[in-house]
Symmetry: C2
Subunit: 287 residues, 2 copies
């Protein structure tokens, strides 16, 4: 077949953004990112043609929400445990040189797009083959890797909860400042560890009324609460003593601070590098 034996394009196509890379012999030779996420796009064929016009008329590997019900075509999930061969066995071909990567599902959770990063991190040796990996975001993923495969994972909608309380309802007026990994974040993290979220969040309001905390610190405190509760639940479940964080945003630093505060080691990894590694490995598998 040899469709993916040479240079190809790999697209990490999320709900609101996408990043596209031209990969040659495992290295990125050109790239583009924009906000043409799956939710903003209707004519996916035209979008794919546009990406080819920008980055080269090459075979194209598509990962992420482009394979969901809001995407180009609904691709199936590969069942966990899943490695590169499991993804290769469940591809959805749009045409002979355009292919959607499957998401991965367990009996109770789903992912789309994160799988190439996770497998790529193991393949590139960025994380050990047996490790706990975290991908912070609106819906953050915590994946248990075993022998370099995705053995199981849990999604937490921590980022979405933060966005909701920030935009609507009682606390919104207090949460305008950016969240930073300082003292207020760590104080929130310590409280969040108690996993008593609905009460801890109201405490932000009460602290404001009682004059206990400057509202300038409230967003950092709230972020600490939410991330602290998430980290505590995942560390309690996994009993891991280290977490590898795949990220390309400041959110990675907040997660690292919370993980270290709870006594585990946090290792920050570049999610872009991991994605490219995973995409290259899958291209090789189906070359």
């Amino acid at each position: 077949m040899m469709r993916f034996a040479g240079p190809f394009l790999a697209v990490d196509w999320g709900t609101t953004n996408r990043r596209c890379f031209r990969i040659e012999a495992g290295r990125v030779t050109d790239s583009a990112s924009d906000d043409r996420g799956a939710a903003a796009v209707t004519d996916f064929a035209a979008e794919a043609a546009g990406l080819r016009a920008r980055l080269g008329d090459l075979p194209m590997l598509l990962a992420g929400m482009v394979g969901s019900s809001i995407g180009w075509r609904t691709a199936p999930y590969a069942p966990a445990p899943a490695g590169i061969p499991a993804l290769a066995a469940a591809l959805t071909w749009i045409d002979a040189r355009t292919v959607i990567v499957p998401g991965v599902a367990t009996a109770r959770d789903v992912m789309r797009g994160e799988e190439l990063q996770l497998l790529g991190a193991a393949i590139a040796g960025m994380a050990p083959p047996d490790a706990l990996l975290c991908q912070p975001g609106t819906h953050s993923k915590w994946a248990r890797m075993e022998a370099g495969r995705i053995a199981g994972f849990t999604t937490a909608m921590t980022g979405e909860l933060f966005a909701l309380i920030r935009s609507h309802g009682l606390l919104a007026a207090q949460l305008g400042a950016p969240a930073v990994a300082g003292a207020a974040f760590l104080e929130g993290e310590a409280e969040g560890r108690r996993r008593d979220l609905a009460a801890s969040l109201f405490g932000i309001r009460a602290s404001g009324l009682l004059g206990l905390r400057d509202d300038a610190d409230a967003a950092s405190h709230a972020s600490g609460l939410l991330i602290g509760a998430e980290v505590a639940a995942r560390l309690a479940e996994s009993r891991a003593d280290a977490v590898h964080i795949l990220t390309d945003s400041p959110l990675g630093g907040l997660y690292a601070a919370a993980i270290e505060a709870q006594g585990a080691r946090a290792i920050l990894l570049d999610s872009r590098t991991a994605f490219i590694s995973g995409a290259a490995a899958l291209a090789t598998e189906i070359a």
Copy 2:
């Protein structure tokens, strides 16, 4: 003074609603409720005159958000532990026959309006003098009563979180049905007990994508998750084996179901009766 020795009006004046009672010798002889909550009102003097025109030109006791920064005047908090005498010592007089009842504060939490219900329940013998009382709502209160006084309490913004996920964001489309105390609620409650909220909530989405649960059950499941997590946190903290629930809404039944599922006894009490008992006791105290 004798201002409150005879018939009087007691108003439970919340953010969005108010209930007003004419009380004579401890009994309600007339009442009115409407949606003229503190957030909807600007001229509180005119509103008070209107209530007197409807229910009698009598001394008036005002409790709730009417004493907050969005109310008629900001009334101080009485510090916990607080009984009727502590409230009587911290009244805010508008004029010689119009008085705002203080809220109650601990070092880290605040209430306004709930205090009369809590103290009234103890005074009327609806709950024992030492008990754990719960007031479900947008911001539910859990109060530890000792010797008939409010010794401490915790507020959980469970109801607000439910409203937020129902109106905005990823889960909103799944949560249109009413929450009822059936199998889906109890399944959610059992999950919520794990106090892993951000992950459990994403599970609603994943269950939808994987076809594991009918969306008609999703709102009940979400309600069970949130209430289950709240109840678990409060029961773990208090080690109480019974909870007295002050309520006038179906939410009381959902809390009772979650409390019983977690092995404690739930006793439903009428919050209106408790409020009237508390208001009558305070009127007697300041007569």
